[in-house]
Symmetry: C2
Subunit: 640 residues, 2 copies
């Protein structure tokens, strides 16, 4: 099916053509949505004209040459396994951060240093070469970002990675034991007991998939025995501190500003192994964890362990937590198959989206605390609003002015709604109208997030809609499409789409951080690297068949013009870049030997390989550095 | 060295601060440039004020939401090993094309199909996981792009890859024998003998590094015996057709519009193994290959072979080609250490830049033909102009109106000069002034290329300056900087910088192609895949310990809810995506087993792995596809 489609299609006509298909798509195999069908189709059709009127004036967000962006957007990269830094409002990709993927450009997964972070098998090869990053969140202090760390998770292999924000590089990766489908993460913002520790010390991790405990081949045919764990990782050491076993599974994660609670929205509270079973219940839940109580249980030895893991596992299932006053978990019923929970910047509410219910559920954090104190009749009484906002609500962001912005996957819209109005309506005020505005997005948004929206400093400037389908929004590039990231100006009453940015699939979630918060270093410190090469130790040393080549780079030359080894040697090359000029990065590649990495100014990296091919191989600089960059090369000679 | 630099620096002040450093950088260790120092520094300083005036009005290139770009930019990705598609003028990355790198997102280097293209070792693991892409060029017909193929090279492992433009995926990779430092490529535009074959049938490849022949450990200490080969690859079969041994090395490659010549600029005509020796001669050269004569030599059996390679190697060294009438090569002397050769759109000239000489050398193709016909006294007589244009000239592009645009690495400028004026000046017209305009770029440009500039349809709309240093042009992101791609409007007399785009290091070269030329398909054809899975063959079959799982995806489910195998089995999963809706891609990941790939609409892919861990593993969809995407998963059970 070669395509000769007319690239001059107008926006409106192509949107209509698409929605015809998407209605079928959204509803296929999901009979549960049938009741909403008419409403959904009507809403989409009626709003497409207004959307055309609202998409304009992008020129005001064009960042002129030489000007800087106002915000950093830190994004996950989905099954690319990486994280990304984007400038906002320009949408320019400022940097990729390899995390769970191999990246020849920087030598990630190739250098000894990165292999130590990624983890290797007994033969020295990488344990995993793929990952599926979902959520990026930053470390907090006083309820806002402190610019120290970012965390990002891998859903495939249940790993949590940390990125240090001064260099924007991954420095630690932790694999969670007895967890599969690790989806949501969130750092805490305050210690639950000691309020003077008002910065991030823990990262919470929610897991989707139930598995046997331990997962060694037992109970394969009896999924009723399988379970899911909620995990707490230490923000500094990155060690796993504890886990809580829950009923159902978990999806996104959020934390309260006062440090008392972590929570996770739950689809499949039915614990079903198949799709039909996952949608059989009337409601699902948002499960709250009382962090201090969990840690008291651990301290008191009231835990078990699973298989060879030594991590304490506390029982957070409903049956073991019937008494609110001693419970570690509280399951608040919310709309069906929710996908997303987000904390409002005033610290008062958690908002859970319905996905298969056209509602968002507003839970008051203080009422959850009351439940744990035994002062609330039922968990559901913590719900203070549940406005109908549209079809397929997924994620909610906030402007810091009392408004919430929720992505509607099925309606392909962003809906702006007022939290106070929703609460009033829930209390019975029939004049209250929560929905303030709607805008069509293109197409089918997943995550949405606002500038500083997950902090107390939410500033109501931009909302980014991470759309899962781009269809005809960009020049065609074959069957694999880019995602559409639509930047929306939310400063006024009406939302205005100001840019369509592209993204290599698939950034799930991101945060938008004010630029003054981020303080990077532009060159390394030579002494940060214990294996640094200097004039004193540079050269070639041999110990049996192990050869260590200590090399320096300074534009436009490597310190050794000739490196000679013998076939069969185990060769380690350690390279220190002695250039001190910002941006003066060198590269190092060796043909046949699959060596390829860079050294930034004052950085040291190393590779180890077996010299198993005799011959002459030109070690060359891969990163344009100087007028004589092409001439920057040394002869790596392997004697047969 | 933590940085708290003020991100509000003005453009002019930051440029001045940088140039102070860059002067030292550009000249460090390169005494040959000392004579030009004063001129260079003066030129840069005097033009920085005008540059500020010329950088503006970017808003007119902002592509409004819902609007499409005018051009495709196809770019190499340097040591990332990939190729990229960018929209112009927006600068949006429309797609990455994995070529020599592993890309978990699409499963490149992970699926059986991509491993077969990349090449594997005896144990089934990839032969190489890194690459260093330099040049992207498209297939031609009638002197312009026909939209069929792109080619891109790997400098590290001497490979040429082809990308089919209907799906924008790499379909073949060829490793060149006895070649190292494979730098430049260019497709031919016409057959040298049969003018009715006016489309691309050959791709020419220039190699930088001299190596022993064969490279098996011999002659390690005698670089005078080493050599470089120019290679011709068949555009359809991707088999290596022939090679020519040359004196010196080669860098960039170009072809004449009439099909008679391929050529390559040469630095290090001295054949020196060290940097000082590479700069000792007065001039270097541009070597021209008479393609028909080379092929006649091959046909006549006048060739040798090297080592185990069966590829015919013709002797193109000067000593063997003293008689122009039988020569296969012509070495035209040009400015010192040139880095770049480009054909003018009128088919008349090749322009070689000097790099260490402040000149560009204009070679008339008809005069080179005269030399081969024995009608020109010396090779140097083919030179018709050599204007002084600035410091560190690298690459030249054309507007189709008689003007050339050359990147000046040391001056950090683009210089616009008129070819006819340069020829007149060379002939002695002292009133002729070749240089028309200069604009500062930020900073230190490598490749530059114009819209349709390498075709007869050069349209003089845009020039892209691929700058190797970005310094302070973007928000700081740590020691590793983005590159700056500056888009310049060249429609008027004066160049105007309209956008600063970012690029993950490091796109060397690119082409800018009118959008109507590119015809992609948006879904695959099920029958393109011999191993497709349909309702007829779907299911699990076992042959000894080999298990074949034939799976189908259709939103929101895989065809098998449970897949059961035994520990120790060799499992192949073949997955066909039966969704037909454009952009409805599914993913397939399996925890612990490092499986991660996608299937686009109607596509089939497969993976093979050993089931060496007992347990329950959720095979899940990684590519957001449907409201019930999270619920789209199957149980992969491995019995212990």
């Amino acid at each position: 099916m070669g395509s000769d489609r007319d690239v001059h299609d107008t926006e409106v006509s192509s949107r209509r053509r698409f929605l015809g298909k998407s209605a079928a798509l959204g509803l296929a195999g999901a009979g549960v949505l049938a009741g909403c069908k008419e409403n959904g189709a009507g809403a989409a059709a009626s709003s497409s004209a207004s959307a055309a009127a609202k998409s304009h004036s992008g020129s005001k967000v064009h960042v002129e040459p030489g000007q800087l962006d106002d915000y950093y957007l830190f994004s996950s990269g989905g099954h690319s396994g990486e994280a990304r830094i984007i400038g906002i409002p320009s949408g320019r990709e400022l940097r990729r951060i390899p995390v769970f993927n191999i990246d020849p450009m920087v030598g990630w997964g190739i250098t000894n240093e990165s292999k130590a972070i990624l983890g290797t098998k007994a033969d020295g090869s990488l344990k995993y070469t793929t990952g599926d990053t979902h959520h990026v969140h930053g470390s907090y202090k006083d309820g806002t970002y402190d610019g120290r760390y970012l965390w990002v998770n891998d859903k495939i292999h249940s790993r949590l990675a940390r990125i240090r924000m001064d260099t924007m590089e991954c420095d630690k990766i932790t694999e969670l034991p007895n967890v599969q489908g690790f989806h949501g993460i969130f750092p805490d913002k305050c210690d639950p007991v000691d309020k003077s520790i008002n910065h991030t010390t823990r990262v919470f991790c929610g897991a989707e998939f139930a598995i046997p405990f331990p997962n060694d081949g037992r109970d394969l045919d009896d999924p009723s025995k399988w379970g899911s764990l909620f995990t707490c990782v230490d923000a500094e050491t990155m060690a796993v501190r504890w886990q809580v076993r829950v009923d159902g599974n978990m999806d996104l994660t959020a934390t309260s500003y006062d440090g008392r609670f972590a929570c996770s929205n739950q689809y499949n509270t039915e614990n079903a192994p198949d799709q039909a079973g996952m949608m059989s219940a009337e409601r699902d839940a948002c499960v709250f964890f009382d962090v201090a109580r969990v840690e008291a249980m651990v301290k008191a030895g009231k835990f078990t362990t699973i298989g060879s893991s030594k991590v304490p596992v506390v029982d957070g299932r409903k049956a073991a937590n019937a008494d609110p006053k001693t419970a570690v978990t509280c399951y608040v019923p919310v709309g069906k198959n929710p996908h997303g929970v987000n904390a409002s910047p005033d610290g008062k509410y958690m908002v859970c989206s319905g996905k298969l219910s056209p509602t968002a559920t507003v839970i008051e954090v203080a009422l959850v605390a009351k439940w744990f104190d035994g002062e609330l009749k039922t968990e559901r009484d913590a719900v203070v609003a549940e406005p109908e906002i549209g079809l397929g609500p997924l994620h909610t962001a906030f402007d810091g002015k009392g408004n919430a912005f929720t992505t509607l996957f099925l309606d392909s819209q962003i809906v702006k709604w007022n939290v106070a109005a929703a609460i009033a309506q829930f209390k019975g005020d029939k004049s209250a109208k929560p929905v303030v505005d709607r805008v069509d997005v293109h197409y089918q948004p997943g995550h949405g997030y606002a500038s500083m929206g997950e902090t107390k400093e939410a500033d109501g400037k931009y909302f980014n809609s991470g759309n899962k389908f781009s269809k005809d929004r960009f020049l065609p590039v074959g069957p694999l499409h880019s995602e559409t990231e639509q930047l929306i100006d939310i400063t006024g009453d009406k939302m205005v789409i100001v840019s369509d940015h592209t993204a290599y699939p698939e950034p799930h979630d991101a945060i938008i951080v004010r630029r003054d918060i981020v303080k990077t270093r532009q060159i390394y410190n030579l002494d940060d690297f214990p294996n640094k090469v200097t004039a004193e130790n540079a050269g070639i040393t041999r110990n049996g068949n192990k050869v260590h080549v200590r090399l320096m780079s300074q534009a436009p030359a490597f310190s050794l013009p000739v490196i000679k080894v013998k076939k069969g040697d185990e060769v380690t090359i350690t390279l220190t870049n002695h250039d001190k000029v910002e941006d003066l990065t060198h590269g190092c590649a060796i043909p046949t030997y699959n060596v390829n990495f860079i050294v930034n100014p004052q950085e040291t990296k190393s590779v180890t390989f077996k010299a198993d091919h005799a011959g002459a191989f030109w070690l060359y600089c891969t990163h344009f550095c100087h007028a004589l960059h092409l001439e920057m090369r040394s002869r790596f000679l392997v004697e047969g």
